[in-house]
Structures are given as C-alpha cells and as structure tokens.
C-alpha cells in the first residue's frame, strides 16, 4: 500500500482531532467518528470498531465485555408465540429481559410491557392496565397480554427511520445500529405496538448489573439519545439458545423457534392452535403470535 497519507484520510483525521478537541472527549478515535453504517462496514472496519467497543466497555464495567456480531443463520426465520391462556402476568419476563439486555435501570427502561385486560372486554388496548400491582396474580376476571417488539415482516419503524439506522435482518429480527441512530424518535411514533424505547437520559447501568455477553446489534450498552427495543435476545438466539424471556417464564407461555423448520414448536402452534396477531389490519405482518393453548 501507498505509505503516503491520502488527502481524504488527512481531512478525516484532522476533522476528527478538531472535533475531539472541540468536544473535550479524549477517547474519540478515528473509527468512532468516521465509521460507516453497520451494513456498509468492511470486515476490517467492523472488527476494529468492535475491538474499540470491547476495550471501552471492559474498562467502564471492570469486566471482560464481549461484543459479538454473529450473522443471521442460513435457513432460519425466527418467530415467537405466546400462550395468552397461560400467562399469569407475573412480569418475570420483563425483569429477566432487563437483566439480560442491559437496559437502563435509572431512568427505567423495559422492553416488555404486560397489559392486564378484562376478560369481559377481550383484547382491548383502551382499557388495558400496565401498572397493576396486586399481591398475587392472576387476578380473577383478568387476563394478561405481554407486548414487546412484534418483529414485523413489514415494519413501520424501519420505513420511518430517516437515516437507515434500523433494518430487518435476514433471520427476521429488526435491529438498530445505535451509533447510527439520530435520536429523532420517528420509529417510536411509527410503531403501532409502542414497542420502542428511548434513552432520554444517560443510561444507568451498574457494574454488577451489566451482562458482559453482548451483541453489536443487541444488548451492548446504549448511550443517551438512541432508540432501543427487543431483538429476540439476538446475542442468545444466534448462538442457538432460547431468548431469556422464554427460559424465565414460570408458566411456559412463551415459545420460540424457527418458522422454516417444520418440526419446530412454532410450526406446531401455527398448525394446531388458534392464533392471533395484534393489529392485523395494519398490514405490519407481525412474527409474534398469540395463541390459546
């Protein structure tokens, strides 16, 4: 390679240094300022950015943090099913998800919202209560509907993003490049399920709370001013594991698997159970099915 520095590269470095001086940030590197969108990165650029991130997070949290970038598995299309007749509304999933996915504890961010609904009214979002807090659940006359990202095939959030910071991967998971996100919150208002969350403040995540096994497009620590949401625990499912909420659910209401595998639990449910999707009329085509076991 040519040893001489190119004009373009010189300008980039000069601008980066100027920005670093201007903002008073000492840990800014060339890669973090002039990086590409995740989808446009060369393997070299990605690995150098990941190395930077791992170094930064390991120093911040005082433990070895890994930032994975496992790609979609071929022949896999993830789907989720939740048994409404079995969910008791205990919110184990909500808190298990927070622990797994490094959500901010203060200000509080939770990806799953469990809605308490009246059995008399059926699925009715206008009368749903997410703040129920009785001593024991389930409460007589109620049922519970946990809602998180529905991983739509036709996602409104992706269409609304002005900069392409969020997209749908080949295995059906809609992901966010947090470094590319502007913080405009178009996706929050576009999502008909209210599934996206915004980091209004600096995320509060303590050393003990931090889960060091992360994925670039999933649970790596976020920053103030970016959107986030459920990724089916991308750091787990791309390594073959069940999402955390599936494992933690004490009633076994949550089911997960590969839609393209005829032997999977998901296909069994679609074949044998009564299934609904939320807001079907919006043509978002959710890959999150609610069923009656």
């Amino acid at each position: 390679m040519n040893e001489a520095i190119s004009r373009r590269k010189f300008i980039c470095i000069a601008a980066g240094c100027a920005a670093a001086v201007a903002t008073g940030c000492s840990d800014l590197t060339h890669t973090s300022w002039f990086r590409n969108n995740f989808r446009d990165m060369s393997p070299e650029e990605l690995s150098s950015i990941i190395a930077d991130l791992e170094k930064k997070h390991s120093a911040t949290f005082g433990k070895t943090v890994t930032v994975g970038n496992e790609p979609p598995l071929p022949g896999v299309h993830f789907a989720y099913a939740l048994d409404i007749s079995r969910c008791v509304g205990c919110r184990r999933c909500v808190h298990g998800c927070v622990e797994e996915n490094n959500q901010s504890r203060d200000p509080e961010i939770q990806w799953i919202r469990v809605l308490e609904m009246d059995q008399e009214k059926g699925i009715d979002f206008h009368h749903a209560n997410p703040y129920y807090d009785p001593e024991l659940v389930p409460q007589e006359g109620h049922f519970y509907l946990p809602v998180a990202c529905q991983q739509c095939k036709n996602p409104a959030c992706v269409k609304s993003c002005p900069v392409g910071a969020t997209w749908r991967e080949d295995d059906g998971i809609t992901v966010i490049d947090y470094d590319w996100c502007l913080g405009c919150r178009c996706c929050l208002s576009a999502c008909p399920y209210g599934a996206r969350r915004f980091n209004w403040g600096e995320p509060g995540l303590s050393v003990e709370q931090m889960n060091p096994k992360t994925h670039y497009l999933g649970n790596r620590p976020r920053m103030k001013g970016v959107a986030e949401k459920c990724t089916f625990c991308i750091q787990r499912v791309r390594n073959g594991q069940y999402p955390k909420c599936v494992e933690i659910c004490p009633t076994g209401s949550r089911k997960f698997g590969n839609l393209l595998d005829p032997e999977s639990e998901i296909r069994y449910i679609l074949k044998n159970k009564r299934v609904v999707v939320l807001k079907n009329e919006l043509n978002t085509d959710p890959q999150f099915f609610y069923f009656f076991g």
Binding site: C90, R91, V94, D106, P130, Y131, L136, G240, Y242, F256
Partner: protein, 196 residues
Amino acid sequence: MTQRRQNPRGVFHFVIPLIILLGMAASPVAVLSASDEHDPPPQRASRAADIPVDSLVFETPPPPFRDPDLFPCSECHNEDQPPNPERRILEEMHEEIVLRHDEEHRWCLDCHDAENRDNLRLANGTLIPFEKSYQLCGQCHGNKYRDWRAGVHGRRSGDWNGDKQYLLCVHCHYSHEPRFQPIAPKPAPLPPGEIK
C-alpha cells in the same frame, strides 16, 4: 345430467367405505393373531410400554418430592404394613395431603401402586417410576401430553435448535392439587410521570 354424474360417485360412495371398513376389521385380527403365534398371551402390564411414543425418554430434573426423606416409600410400605385397599380419608399418615384432583372419582391407589409404592401405576397396571410420571398424567390429559411432548405445553430451556430441558408435569402442577398456584408479580413499571 345430474343423474348421470351422480351415478359413478354413488358407486364410489359405497365401495370405498366398504374397503375401509374391511381393512379396519381385518387389521386388529391380523395383529392379534400375529401376537398369538409368537408371544405368550400379552400381559396387561406391558401394553402401554409398547406404544412407541411412551418409549421416548425425556430428560427431566428429578421429581420434586415435597418431603424427600419419605422416599423410597417402601421403607414404610413393606411387608410389615399390608396395603389397605379401602377408599378413605387418611388420618394416621399423609394427612396433610388433601386431594383436589377429581377427588370425587379418584383416590391414592388410582395412581400409586398398592403393592409397590416406589412406583406409580398406569390404569392398565403398568408400573412406571416417578421420573416418568408424565405417562400417568397423559392418560387423562392426552391433549396436554401431546403438546408437552412437542415442547408447546410447559417450560423449556436450552437451545431452540438443539438440546432442550423439559420439566415434569409435577414441577408446575402439584399432583394432588394441580391448579397452577397464584404467584406474586414483580414490580410494576413506573408511570411516565415518575421517570426522572
């Protein structure tokens, strides 16, 4: 026109069910005669095990005995204590067990074997270990058993594309009172006004 069209159909309507009926009538005979020739008369106790699906072994954690010190049962239920087959409410021992599981029709010895208390007993007399209690539950709850085997009823952990850990029915449904017990919910989310 309609007459002509219906005629050939009418023949099939008659012939096909006839063939099916003959086949159905013949097959059990064939199976029975085959087993008569080669095997001694089948014992009742071995039939359930012959159903292929029950030979599937599901890896589960050990059964959750409420009082593990009481197992093996044969430490007390041995020759010194002949079984009392009379249906009654227990008063001397195990009085803490209150059956709320179709109690009008069931009692202890419908599931526990009178002669061998360390095992459970299927309706056909087959003895099964406590580790395979799902076979016992599946006798009445066949649809749930089917869902459970497929991984759709009950809690799973492990790999969605690999090894999965199953739980026994009794890990979530106490066999003498199987209704899932209410639990305390985890804290509610903060209302938007309280998030600083």
